[in-house]
Every structure is written in C-alpha cells, then in structure tokens.
C-alpha cells in the first residue's frame, strides 16, 4: 500500500498540486493498480532483451534544415505564440526560477 508521503512525493516529481482528498483517493486507487502488477515477478527474464521499438526501424535521420511543405509545418512566430500566457515581443516570458519560498 502506498503511503501518503509517497503519493505526495510522486505528485511533486510529476509537478502538480493535489488536494487532501485527492491524495487519499489516489493513494488507494494507485495501490490497487500496483497490486495488479505483482504477477510480472513470476516471469523468467534471464537473457531477455528489452523492446522499445517494435518494427525494427533504426536511426531514421534527416538533414538538419528547416523544411516548409505546403502550409503544414510553417506556422509564423505570431501563430505559434497565440496561446502563450505572457510574452514580450517574440519571446515567452517565464517567472523567476530561483528565489521563491518553494524552491526545491
């Protein structure tokens, strides 16, 4: 069973706030899901390699240049910044990274 501290630790790594009620709800639900995974310990895995890519492709490379095909990838800077909360000209403004009371 996960502890409250473990849930809070994971939420901090995952970077979102949780209410007290959420901590308790997720503690129980996530513990139940983790219980499902216990059976994987039964599998003999000696000499078995990991699989992350299933179709056998390797190192698909392209030239490092900007390609503008039709109107597909060619957004203007203005369009790209349309949903940005705070900007300064063509730059995205970011709040201070250090100096807050909640530094980690």
């Amino acid at each position: 069973m996960l502890t409250k501290e473990e849930v809070l630790h994971v939420a901090k790594l995952a970077k979102f706030d949780l209410s007290e009620a959420e901590v308790e709800k997720f503690r129980l639900q996530l513990s139940n899901v983790l219980d499902l995974f216990k059976k994987i310990d039964d599998v003999e895995l000696k000499d078995i390699e990991e699989t992350s890519q299933v179709t056998g492709l390797k190192n698909v490379l392209r030239n490092d240049e900007v390609v503008c095909k039709k109107d597909l990838t060619c957004c203007t800077t203005e369009e790209l910044l349309k949903g940005t909360p705070i900007k300064d000209g063509n730059s995205i403004k970011v709040p201070k990274v250090i100096g807050g009371t909640d530094d980690v």
């Binding site: 473990e6 970077k15 997720f26 996530l30 599998v43 699989t51 299933v54 597909l72 949903g83 530094d103």
Partner: protein, 490 residues
C-alpha cells in the same frame, strides 16, 4: 442519405445521383436531430463543411475530383490537430488551444477532398475506455443511452453508429479504436504501428499510439486506410512499405486460410453471452472455408500489466509538456509575484482531470529511482516475450481471432470510480499494441440487456503489415453475418 456507407456514397457521387452538398446537409441535419442525445461531437464545423462540400461539387463538375472519397463527410477525433480549429484532446488543460497546422492524417484527408464534419469526443488525452474521462461530457451509446460507447474513441464510434458521419478517424493505444467499435457495433481498424503517421496527433504513449478508421463496413475501413497510410517524413517511425489498395483484397475467399484461436483469451471472466457470440462467429468463419486451429499466446496474462506500466510511463513523459508557460491552461499572470515551480504545480493541478493525474503519477512512480528496474525495465523485457508470442503464432497461422471486450457496453458510472475495473475491460485489446501488430474489430452479433440489443464484436489480429489479410477475413465474415445491417433506434 446519411445512412449510406462511404463506398455507396462515392458511387452515387460519381454517377451524379447526389451531390456532396446534399450528402453533407443530410448528415448535418442528422447531427442536429440526434447529437443532443448522443453527445458524440465536441464541435460541429457546419459552415466549413458546407463550404468544403460545395468546393467538392465544383471540382467534380470540372472533372477535377481528387480521389474516390472526394466530397465524403467524415468526423475526426479531437486528439488530431486541425489547423485554425480548436483541438482540446477533451481536456481542460488544452481548452482554447488552436493549432496552426493539420495533423498529417487530416491533411491527407483534406488533400483527398474529404469534408471534415467536426471533432469527436474522447476520454481526455485518450485515457480511458468509456469517454467518461472527457473533461467536457460523456458520449452515450446509440444502442442504449444509459450505457457508455466505449473509449477512448467513443465519440467517433458513436457518431458512426448513429449515422452522424459516414466514417471517422480514431486513435488506438491499447484498444481505443477496437473496443468502442465493438461496443457500438461498427468496424474499427488499428493498423500496424508506424503504418499511419502520428504527426500532429496529441501524443499519449508514443511507442504504442496508432491512428485508424472507424466505419460502417470493412470496405470503408479499407478505403480510409488507403488514404491515410504511408511514410511521412514528419514522423520518423512511419514505415516505408508501399501502401496496397486494401479494398482490392476484400473479395478473396477464405479457403486454405489458417486462423488461430488462443486459449488464453477464453478463460473465465468473460460474459457468457459475449462468449457465445464470439464462438458462433468463429464457426461461421470456419464454414467459409478457413481452418480453425487452437493456439497459445503464453504471455497474455502478463500483457495487461506490461501495458499499464509502459503506457503511463510514456504518458508521464509526453504530458510534461503542459507546463502553463507556453500554451494551454495557465495560472501565470502579468505583474504577479509567482515562481516557475508554483506555476507548474497549479496550472497542471487545475488543468488535468483525475485519470490524467492517475496515469502521470503511475508513470512517474514506475520510472522513479528504486522502481525503474522492478517495473519499467521488467515490463520492457516482457514486451519482448509478448511480441515473440505473436511472431511464433504467425509462423503457423494467417490470423488470430479473439473477443474484443469481456462484456457488452457497461452502464455510465458503473466503473468510473474504479480504475482497476476500467483497466480490466481492456484485457483483450491491450496485448496487441506492445507487439505493434494490426487488429480489426468487426460486429459479430448482439446480446440482450434490459430488453435492449447491445452489439458485440470480434477481434481479428494479423502479423505486422498484415492489414490485407485481416480486412479480407473481416469482410468475408461481414457478408455472411449481416450484423451491420441492423441500426440502433435513437
């Protein structure tokens, strides 16, 4: 007119019996009539659709038709970016997000002259099996509106079943095309990993995500796949293999075909009536001349765990981009004393729903120091074994038949507070994605619950790039089953 299949409608368009405008207006009226009950759409693009339909008719008059689906109205799951049209993934954190580009699949459809009707509902970020995790609304099953349509592509499946489009695009990471197709009584095809470009599709689990069609018939699924499949330089995981004319392979008979039925998929836990429908379907396919053989996929029991470890791990990484700084929901305000950490924590805390939080936390946990080896690394190794099971099986058989879902459509609210029960409903669909093989869900029959008919599908699985084989078997079965002739009363 809204009842037509894509193949039927394109013939009528070609012969001039109908225009794209007639067809599109008929569908839009149908949406007006039934969508208030079904809630399949998050957004209907009425004016745009009428404009595009008129353009298609003009092209046809000038003899400049773009493809055989020019003028056909389709719906798009709201996980695919659409240029200048809000794309939300049914999540609050992306509410108001308007991409400045089209997903490759959307561009290919538009280049083929397709009329885009609108964006369909889903479980937020495609996390779920019922659409109940949508941050905006729950879609209802057209066969019984007190039940879920399945998910995550539940809006697309319900829209097809309710004749609110001629076909739709969905995405499938662990069953999100096949399970709603089964629960709504339509065809749903999950292609081979890399067969269809993921460019512009909001990422869930990048090593598992696949885009595919939901349709009224197998022929329509083949027609859509022909348009959307193929190598895309904007997605380096797409495959170079040539795209066959899938609709040409449907007519072959099944004599000499060897089809495996894996014993691990017929253990206890399946609804008895569902099991009967699946077994009858297998008998029908045998009568068509196929040889049915019993096979074993020994690591099936572990596949659910493998999936629910790897998928949240990839989710936690992919969803870290929603940071409240560049786009999406944010608490960031001008001239307020805020730190970066606080902006992240609050924006994400407010913007993500429960299921997104659960999956991000689960993924963060299995990737975190001390647990990586015990969960993630182990799951990656078992993935090798799951994939190998299929490779071994396909040395002996041409295709594999299994159920799609252990139950018919469940009631809205029945599983929404119990993630384990919800995850278990994916037990027959999730082993497919870690292996990268294609699979199709095709309607097989009905079970009766509360005096209502509920559809049940079967799943036909093929080897990698074996879409022609499974479409062929599905089509031959569809011809004798006649299940898709029946329509829900809405």
């Amino acid at each position: 007119m809204y009842k037509l299949s894509i193949a039927e409608a394109s013939k009528k368009l070609e012969s001039g019996q109908i225009s794209s405008l007639d067809l599109t207006e008929s569908i839009l009226r149908r949406i007006d009539e039934v969508d208030p009950k079904i809630d399949a759409y998050l957004k209907v693009l009425k004016d745009e659709a009428i404009f595009d339909a008129k353009e298609s008719d003009k092209r046809r008059k000038a003899g400049k038709t773009l493809s055989k689906i020019d003028g056909i109205p389709l719906a798009i799951k709201d996980l695919l970016c659409t240029k200048n049209i809000e794309t939300t993934a049914a999540s609050n954190i992306l509410k108001g997000f308007t991409p400045c580009f089209d997903a490759t699949v959307v561009r290919k459809l538009k280049d083929a002259g397709v009329v885009v009707l609108g964006k369909t509902n889903l479980d937020a970020f495609a996390h779920g099996s019922s659409t109940e995790n949508s941050d905006f609304k729950t879609t209802k099953n057209p066969w019984d509106q007190s039940r879920v349509p399945g998910g995550s592509s539940g809006g697309s499946a319900a829209a097809v079943a309710a004749d609110e489009c001629l076909g739709a695009i969905g995405t499938d990471t662990g069953g999100s095309i096949r399970q709603p197709a089964s629960l709504c009584g339509v065809v749903g095809l999950k292609p081979t990993y890399g067969r269809v470009s993921r460019y512009g599709v909001i990422a869930m689990a990048s090593s598992l995500d696949v885009i595919g069609p939901l349709s009224k018939t197998t022929e329509d699924a083949a027609i859509i796949l022909e348009v959307i499949a193929g190598r895309d330089e904007l997605d380096s995981t797409t495959l170079d293999a040539p795209v066959p004319e899938y609709s040409k392979s449907l007519g072959r008979d099944l004599k000499g075909k060897k089809i495996g039925v894996p014993k691990e998929y017929f253990k206890s836990g399946m609804d008895e009536d569902v099991e009967s429908v699946v077994k009858e379907a297998i008998e029908k396919i045998e009568k068509l001349g196929a040889e049915i053989v019993k096979i074993s996929l020994p690591h099936t029991d572990y596949a659910l765990s493998v999936y629910y470890i790897l998928q949240p791990a990839e989710v936690s990484s992919n969803l870290s981009r929603y940071d409240g700084i560049r786009f999406g929901h944010s608490v960031l305000r001008e001239n307020v004393d805020q730190t970066l950490e606080k902006v992240y924590m609050q924006s994400r805390g407010e913007g993500f729903g429960d299921e997104a939080k659960r999956r991000i936390m689960l993924g963060t946990y299995v990737l975190s120091a001390g647990y990586y080896d015990a969960y993630y690394k182990k799951a990656m190794k078992i993935r090798t074994l799951v994939k190998r099971d299929f490779e071994e099986a396909f040395k002996e058989v041409d295709a594999i038949i299994t159920p799609v879902s252990p139950t018919p459509a469940f009631k809205i609210g029945e599983k929404s507070d119990d993630p384990v029960q919800m995850y278990l409903s994916d037990i027959y669909t999730v082993p497919i994605n870690p292996a990268g093989v294609p699979a199709i869900s095709v309607p097989a029959g009905f079970v009766t619950r509360d005096a209502k008919d509920l559809p049940v599908g079967i799943q036909i699985i093929g080897p990698q790039l074996g879409e022609e084989v499974i479409l062929n078997i599905a089509h031959q079965f569809e011809k004798v089953s006649g299940v898709n002739k029946k329509k829900p009363q809405i």
